[in-house]
């Protein structure tokens, strides 16, 4: 019989982080990954010879410095290169750029609006202050406000104290930002459509909402909490792609004594007398442990891996209602050369080393959402592109390039062709593959390439190979329900003490000894390592009391 202290279901980055912390605390841990490679959606795949594709996540910012430090990820090979710039080509042949230099950025913004150029510095420092104020929340187990447990009360008091320490004007602004739309917030600061267009994308990335939807203000702030080497709001590329990060974490976990198994898909969680005791693999093997921790998303965990009879009805119903409809696709292009962006002036080619954003205005992004919200896709999608081979020559053969495109919106629940609305997500899969047939997939990939070709007309001639992960593909490849990159929307009704369900936001589940450590728990998605680490600290605290 194979017996462990802890079994972690899923070798995504949070599962690996979680296992590393447990192993460092002396626990005998095994991570079970269904694919042939660890990392989950944090993976680099050579899908075309010599070209390394970022088939899932592509940038790092919110990865907790604590995780980097405590797991010694630098020693295990992690190297992060901050992106310096953002380049926003515009349909009229103009462009907007954000440089790593204050004076250059000011000049670029002033070309569009001198007033915005002045406001920009104050906006950045305000966002930094607000982000600093809420950052400590990332690393805490959310207290249950309905509980009288002394730990919950103490945590609530701690939060209250934190908020009281803020300048009153900042606190009021924070309260407004948390509840308003990214568009309303940005309208208060800026007048330039292009600037607002690119800024609002932080409020909708991975989120099936438009910039005018309330709640996107919070998502905007979420993307400002990140830091690299103390520099806030910095986003970086890991040498070798995000897969190299997963390898570094796996290396740290193994060095600490954890066992990491690939090709080991869990069929279901073993529950005996209402208590989790282990797992059964697809191949029939049974593994037993004192604790079973699921890094899978909440719907996969509670609607597929655990039998419904083991769970309270109201909890199952909360999880069914947990919003996972996803708007995001991932496209990778193998290119024979660098695309020429017609709006990019000579001498400013360095901008191609940073983010390239197709988000010319808030209206453009809102329209992209409107196109998709009834089970469709954007005819002109928002895109966040990156050419990693300009930073890391190992990503493509010499002289060739690889381009990574985060694309939004394309619904994980496409409407069936008869025009009927998409499936009710509370029901289970009446629309096979969420409507993503091979034909639809090819069709949307053309939409993406067409859209980008508007700004870089020679793109098509350079394409050696193209690959798209639709929400359905992300679901299939990485085992994430609806392919939602955050394991469920970062909407106000499912964050903090409500993530993934009210009363179950402390990494525990209704099944004793079954825990959660993935992005369906606080603080949610992105490469943060925070759910994995927070859950480990919580489980170890619980263990020490047992």
């Amino acid at each position: 019989m194979q017996r462990y202290d802890a079994i972690v279901i899923g070798g995504g980055h949070n599962g690996l982080v979680h296992a590393a912390y447990l192993a460092r605390a002396g626990k005998r841990v095994v991570v079970l990954e269904r694919r042939h490679v660890v990392g989950g959606a944090t993976v680099t795949e050579e899908l075309y010879p010599g070209f390394k594709f970022l088939t899932g996540s592509y940038l790092i910012s919110l990865l907790r410095p604590e995780v980097i430090r405590e797991l010694e990820l630098a020693r295990h090979g992690l190297s992060i290169m901050p992106l310096e710039s953002t380049y926003v080509p515009l349909p009229d042949g103009n462009y907007l750029a954000d440089w790593p230099d204050h004076d250059l950025t000011r000049e670029e913004i002033a070309r569009h609006s001198p007033r915005d150029a002045d406001a920009y510095g104050e906006y950045a420092s305000t966002m930094r202050r607000l982000a600093l104020a809420i950052k400590p929340l990332l690393d805490m187990t959310p207290p249950n406000p309905a509980s009288k447990d002394p730990r919950d009360l103490a945590a609530m008091a701690q939060i209250a104290e934190r908020l009281r320490a803020m300048a009153p004007a900042d606190f009021q602004l924070l309260a407004r930002l948390m509840t308003m739309s990214a568009a309303d917030f940005l309208d208060e600061w800026f007048e330039g459509e292009a600037l607002k267009g690119t800024k609002c994308t932080s409020g909708i990335i991975g989120t099936f909402l438009g910039p005018r939807s309330p709640g996107t203000g919070y998502v905007l702030l979420h993307h400002y909490i990140g830091e690299i080497d103390g520099v806030h709001r910095a986003w970086g590329f890991a040498r070798g792609g995000t897969g190299a990060l997963s390898q570094a974490i796996a290396s740290a976990a193994r060095a600490a004594g954890a066992e990491v198994r690939v090709n080991a898909e869990v069929a279901h969680v073993l529950v005996k007398d209402g208590v989790a005791t282990g797992v059964v693999l697809k191949n029939g093997d049974e593994l037993y442990a004192d604790r079973v921790i699921s890094n899978a998303d909440a719907k996969t965990t509670f609607l597929r891996l655990v039998e419904p009879k083991e769970l309270p009805d109201d909890f199952v119903s909360d999880i069914r209602r947990y919003r996972t409809t996803s708007p995001a696709c991932k496209v990778n292009l193998a290119l024979s050369g660098l695309p020429t962006f017609t709006s990019l002036p000579r001498g400013k080619e360095a901008l191609l080393r940073g983010s390239i954003e197709i988000a010319p205005s808030m209206d453009y992004v809102e329209q992209a959402y409107d196109d998709a919200k009834y089970g469709g896709w954007s005819t002109r999608p928002f895109m966040d592109a990156l050419i990693p081979s300009l930073l890391d020559p190992g990503m493509a053969p010499p002289g060739k390039h690889v381009m990574s495109l985060f694309v939004q919106y394309a619904s994980s629940e496409l409407a069936v062709d008869d025009g009927a609305p998409g499936r009710d997500e509370r029901a289970l899969r009446p629309n096979p593959q969420g409507g993503w047939t091979d034909a639809k997939k090819a069709q949307f990939l053309e939409v993406v390439i067409d859209t980008l070709s508007q700004y870089a007309p020679n793109l098509r001639d350079l394409i050696l190979h193209k690959h798209i992960n639709t929400p359905h593909d992300i679901e299939q490849s990485f085992g994430i329900t609806s392919g939602h990159i955050f394991h469920g929307e970062l909407a106000l009704h499912q964050i903090f003490f409500l993530r993934p369900a009210a009363g179950w936001a402390q990494y525990r589940t209704p099944v004793p000894n079954l825990w959660m450590c993935g992005s369906s728990t606080h603080p949610g998605g992105c490469i943060t390592g925070a759910p994995g680490r927070n859950a480990a600290l919580e489980i170890l605290r619980d263990w020490s009391r047992a």
Partner: protein, 397 residues
């Protein structure tokens, strides 16, 4: 107009300069950074490849039947095993055993050597030459030098020259065909990474620069200034003249000068070879013990970050290394001084090089350093660690 000298690459480097960040190096103008923020230049050294103009290095051509005997008497390191094609790093001292300079020696042929130095050494070389049949010629201005550093440097150079460089081991050199001419390329550098130094006659400098930049397009080549090189040399635990030690000829007192043992170069002092300048004094120091030892320090950057967060500030880690004598304490008593420090984006640590009393130099010793937090000074733990801080396998590959 009266200006500093410029290197043979100046026409190219000045065209890249964005923010007028020039600095002085041995009477020349060289770039601190080409771009307005130097981050990218540093990252290229560790993740792609960087091209650094190091032409201001002083270079001397030594030839004659006694060239080896002369050099062996001049420097502390045993050169007896040096074959043609070898390059070796060594300090050299005055009679009191204080370091005059440090640099490399390349054996070009049976009777020809090239010495590089951080400072002008012509008088020192001549003063020590009587009795030796050696011809000494300064070639600093005639010879440009480029340092091509980073994990992609070998692939770039192999592609450009059509030469298999895997057999050119660490601290060896060869001649390759570069832009149509045989060019000396050494497997050396000052970054602790995979890298090469390219030695080229001044009149061919621009052609070679252009060839490297053109080939470099496929390898994310980044022209890189001294700030980025400085951060990487600190990570590599390599010392720098005028920063980590005062060369003996410039020291106003013996206390300002350093012996090789005090600056981490004891390993390059070989008493078993014949007489060399400073031998007697160094032997005596070795027996008696040195007052200082070079150490690496890891500054508690978590506490440094928290101190800033308490004030509502983000943490201003130094991406451009600082230089200066900063006291190091143990239990309130000064035990030595740091000479330079930097945030290491690669190690994710705040590093410093320091010289401290041997009793405080053991790895793991908890020392402290005062740093500014906004407008006040605060003490932070600085733990002694082994150097190099960063030592990838590819450095010697």
């Amino acid at each position: 107009m009266l200006t500093l000298k410029t290197t043979p690459f100046h026409a190219r480097t000045s065209a890249l300069m964005q923010g007028a960040e020039w600095r002085r190096w041995a009477g020349y103008s060289v770039a601190s950074a080409y771009e307005l923020t130097p981050d990218r230049e540093y990252l290229a050294i560790r993740n792609a490849c960087a091209l650094i103009d190091v032409s201001p290095l002083f270079k001397y051509h030594l030839s004659g039947p006694d060239a080896l005997a002369f050099l062996d008497r001049l420097v502390t390191r045993d050169l007896g095993k040096m074959a043609v094609g070898h390059m070796t790093y060594t300090p050299w001292c005055n009679a009191r055993g204080k370091v005059v300079d440090d640099g490399t020696i390349a054996r070009l042929s049976d009777t020809e050597y090239r010495l590089t130095a951080a400072e002008s050494n012509l008088r020192w070389l001549h003063d020590n030459a009587p009795g030796f049949s050696v011809h000494i010629e300064e070639v600093t201005e005639r010879l440009g030098a480029l340092s091509l550093q980073g994990p992609a440097s070998r692939a770039l150079l192999e592609g450009l020259t059509g030469t298999d460089l895997s057999q050119v081991k660490y601290h060896r050199f060869t001649h390759v065909s570069l832009a149509g001419h045989p060019t000396m390329v050494s497997r050396t550098g000052y970054t602790g990474d995979l890298g090469y130094e390219i030695w080229v006659e001044a009149e061919r400098a621009e052609t070679v620069w252009d060839a490297l930049v053109e080939a470099g397009r496929a390898y994310a080549l980044q022209p890189t200034g001294i700030w980025a090189m400085d951060a990487s040399r600190i990570e590599a635990g390599l010392i720098m003249l005028d920063v980590d030690y005062t060369p003996a000829p410039k020291a106003l007192t013996d206390g300002q000068a350093s012996s090789p043992f005090e600056i981490g170069l004891g390993w390059a002092v070989h008493f078993k070879k014949g007489h060399f300048v400073g031998r007697k004094a160094l032997l005596a120091e070795k027996e008696r013990g040195s007052p200082l030892a070079l150490v690496g320090l890891e500054i508690d950057h978590v506490a440094f970050g928290k101190a800033h967060e308490r004030l509502g500030l983000t943490t201003p880690f130094p991406f451009v290394p600082w230089r200066g004598i900063v006291p190091i304490f143990r239990g309130g008593e000064q035990v030595g001084y740091a000479t330079c420090g930097t945030w290491s984006p690669t190690c994710k640590k705040y590093l410093a090089l320091a010289q401290v009393a041997p009793a405080a130099a053991a790895p793991g010793s908890a020392l402290s350093i005062d740093l500014m937090v906004d407008r006040s000074r605060q003490s932070f733990q600085a733990t002694v660690v082994g150097i190099p801080f960063f030592n990838p396998e590819r450095k010697r590959a």
